[in-house]
């Protein structure tokens, strides 16, 4: 079974491309900092706003810091924020989704109304509101995006639990005396896991878009930490003279988001061939 999932995934060239993009960026985040000749925070005012050159492949920023180095360190921050927040958000969302779907009735109604309310704050608004309460910074960005991804996952997991709740094997488990917790952990969760994996992968892209948007607005990661959205925000002042300073982080965000999106679609097709759109 596991091998056939991998086989189906590998068959989709475009999904493999997505995975390759992500692997390259993860490699850059893990190993890149050891290969950089500069420090991401080293200020060199005499060499600010340089175009690309042999010393600075992607030029320098408003304080003369090397853009390539900051891009590499920025990958770390981007992955730390997106992976941690989506993991926490998905876990909490999954727990609520399983409880709502499994127990139904009033519990379900309460949890679903709570997600309705969270979903009434569209897109970026919820993240901005949470940052308004907690303040800026990496940790608060992680919390904001985690809360942001809870309602989506809760609803998706609830939906998938509802479809398997009345399956014969769940009844069988109950008949032989399995407790609620045992039924949930050994029978319900494994069967809704493919949905969780697909949506978590897709959410990673959204998380990166949201965290970079927050930083772009000055509400996320604070200077001098290198974050792609914040780098873009600074670089827009010099769009005409050194466009590379904005293009580099912008293209990096686009590529990583695209990578997660392609991978998520590929995983969906591989894990659940019935849901294919084409």
């Amino acid at each position: 079974m596991r091998q056939s999932v991998l086989k189906r995934f590998m068959k989709r060239k475009i999904a493999v491309l997505g995975a390759v993009i992500i692997v390259l960026f993860v490699f850059m985040a893990l190993v890149g900092p050891y290969l950089c000749a500069y420090d991401p925070l080293d200020i060199d005012v005499l060499n600010k706003y340089q175009s690309s050159s042999r010393e600075h492949l992607l030029g320098t920023d408003n304080l003369g810091r090397d853009t390539l180095t900051r891009l590499v360190y920025g990958a770390r921050i981007t992955f730390i924020i997106s992976v941690t927040s989506v993991f926490i958000g998905s876990l909490i969302g999954m727990i609520f989704g399983v409880i709502a779907g499994y127990f139904g009735g009033k519990t379900d109604a309460v949890i679903m109304r709570a997600t309705d309310v969270l979903l009434a704050f569209p897109g970026l608004l919820l993240a901005i509101a949470i940052v308004a309460i907690l303040g800026t910074g990496i940790i608060n960005t992680i919390i904001a995006i985690a809360i942001f991804s809870i309602p989506y996952l809760a609803r998706i997991v609830r939906g998938s639990v509802l479809t398997i709740r009345n399956s014969e094997y769940i009844h069988a488990a109950k008949v032989i005396g399995a407790s609620h917790l045992r039924t949930i952990i050994f029978h319900i969760v494994p069967n809704s896991l493919s949905q969780v994996i697909v949506n978590t992968t897709l959410n990673l892209g959204t998380a990166i878009l949201t965290s970079s948007a927050l930083s772009f607005l000055g509400l996320g990661v604070q200077p001098p930490d290198p974050e792609w959205g914040a780098m873009l925000s600074k670089a827009r002042e010099v769009m005409r003279s050194t466009p590379i300073a904005a293009l580099a982080p912008g293209i990096a965000i686009t590529l990583v988001v695209m990578g997660f999106s392609l991978m998520g679609d590929g995983l969906r097709d591989a894990l659940d061939p019935r849901s294919r759109n084409d």
């Binding site: 309705d116 704050f121 308004a132 948007a213 509400l219 925000s233 912008g250 590529l255």
Partner: protein, 305 residues
């Protein structure tokens, strides 16, 4: 159908109610004393007491909430700490810019997205399908603020076709609307494509074709009409996203909209303005979705509670 519409309207009331509670509680969720947060650490004790008194923060929570709600219903959203102006006035001045951006963005996204989706579905798995799906993938992956900068670089700085900041004529809106709408194009294109593929395989399409109906009639009048239902839902949901996301576009193009008002308020801890803008955007979003739901219960009689 009337029953559906009434139940749908009633179902919105508790959501609006809960949204208002959350927005009200925002100030109380802030770690530390909200008044010191607003005025800063170096504020005089008298000033702190006066502000606490003026905002009613020394009263019990349920009384604070009741007067908050009554004030909102009366159209009083408090006073901005920074500008000392009534918040409702600030929002009134700025809301239309964001609304124009969000409506424009939704229109751009729906027209281009639906067209791309139709072409993709008709040319399924051929060159145009693959090409358009790559474009839509790019559109959903590119952050709107990055696209905005690229548009400025190409169309303002190099070609000089459109201005890059401010809102003085329709030409000022072209780039911001496009930057805001593009991210939704891909989503709508994919949605339209799969909905069209579903309907194109239906029996009534085969019948229409067999009866010799011209292809554009089959596509536009038979298939598209039925494919539009899921697309409409997405449009309603995207509209709210665009309204909130316009904050990014307003920052780039220096447009004095409600999004920028909100961001400035967050950066300066102007809590009455933060609460009012968050409330305004989410209420608009809930109402738009209500209208969309009701609209398509009218368009499609199959939709019932």
């Amino acid at each position: 159908m009337l029953k559906f519409i009434i139940t749908r309207i009633i179902s919105v009331i508790p959501i609006l109610f809960l949204v208002s509670i959350l927005v009200f509680l925002m100030v109380h969720f802030i770690p530390g004393d909200p008044v010191i947060n607003m005025l800063g650490m170096e504020a005089q004790p008298e000033a702190i007491e006066a502000t606490r008194e003026r905002l009613g923060l020394n009263k019990p929570l349920h009384i604070q909430y009741t007067s908050f709600l009554i004030n909102i219903l009366k159209g009083d959203l408090g006073t901005s700490i920074r500008t000392k102006k009534p918040v409702i006035q600030e929002i009134k001045d700025k809301y239309r810019y964001s609304l124009i951006l969000a409506i424009g963005g939704t229109l751009v996204a729906s027209v281009l997205g639906v067209l791309m989706g139709i072409v993709s579905a008709i040319k399924q798995n051929k060159f145009w399908d693959n090409f358009l799906m790559v474009i839509s993938l790019l559109s959903v992956s590119t952050p709107s603020f990055f696209l905005a900068l690229i548009l400025i670089l190409i169309f303002s700085l190099f070609l000089g076709w459109f201005p890059s900041i401010g809102v003085y004529s329709w030409r000022h809106y072209v780039l911001p609307i496009f930057a805001l709408g593009t991210q939704s194009i891909g989503l709508i294109a994919r949605m339209t494509r799969s909905a069209m593929l579903d309907t194109l395989n239906q029996d009534y399409i085969t019948t229409a074709k067999a009866k010799g109906a011209p292809w554009f009639q089959v596509v536009f009048s038979h298939a598209l009409r039925n494919a539009m239902i899921p697309v409409l839902t997405i449009l309603g949901l995207r509209f709210g996203g665009l309204l909130a996301g316009s904050a990014l576009i307003e920052m780039v193009f220096a447009i004095p909209g409600i999004g920028r008002l909100m961001i400035d308020a967050v950066l300066t801890r102007d809590y009455p303005v933060i609460q009012a803008t968050v409330l305004f955007i989410s209420v608009t979003f809930v109402m738009i979705n209500l209208i969309v739901d009701i609209l398509y219960s009218i368009v499609d009689p199959r939709v019932k509670c």
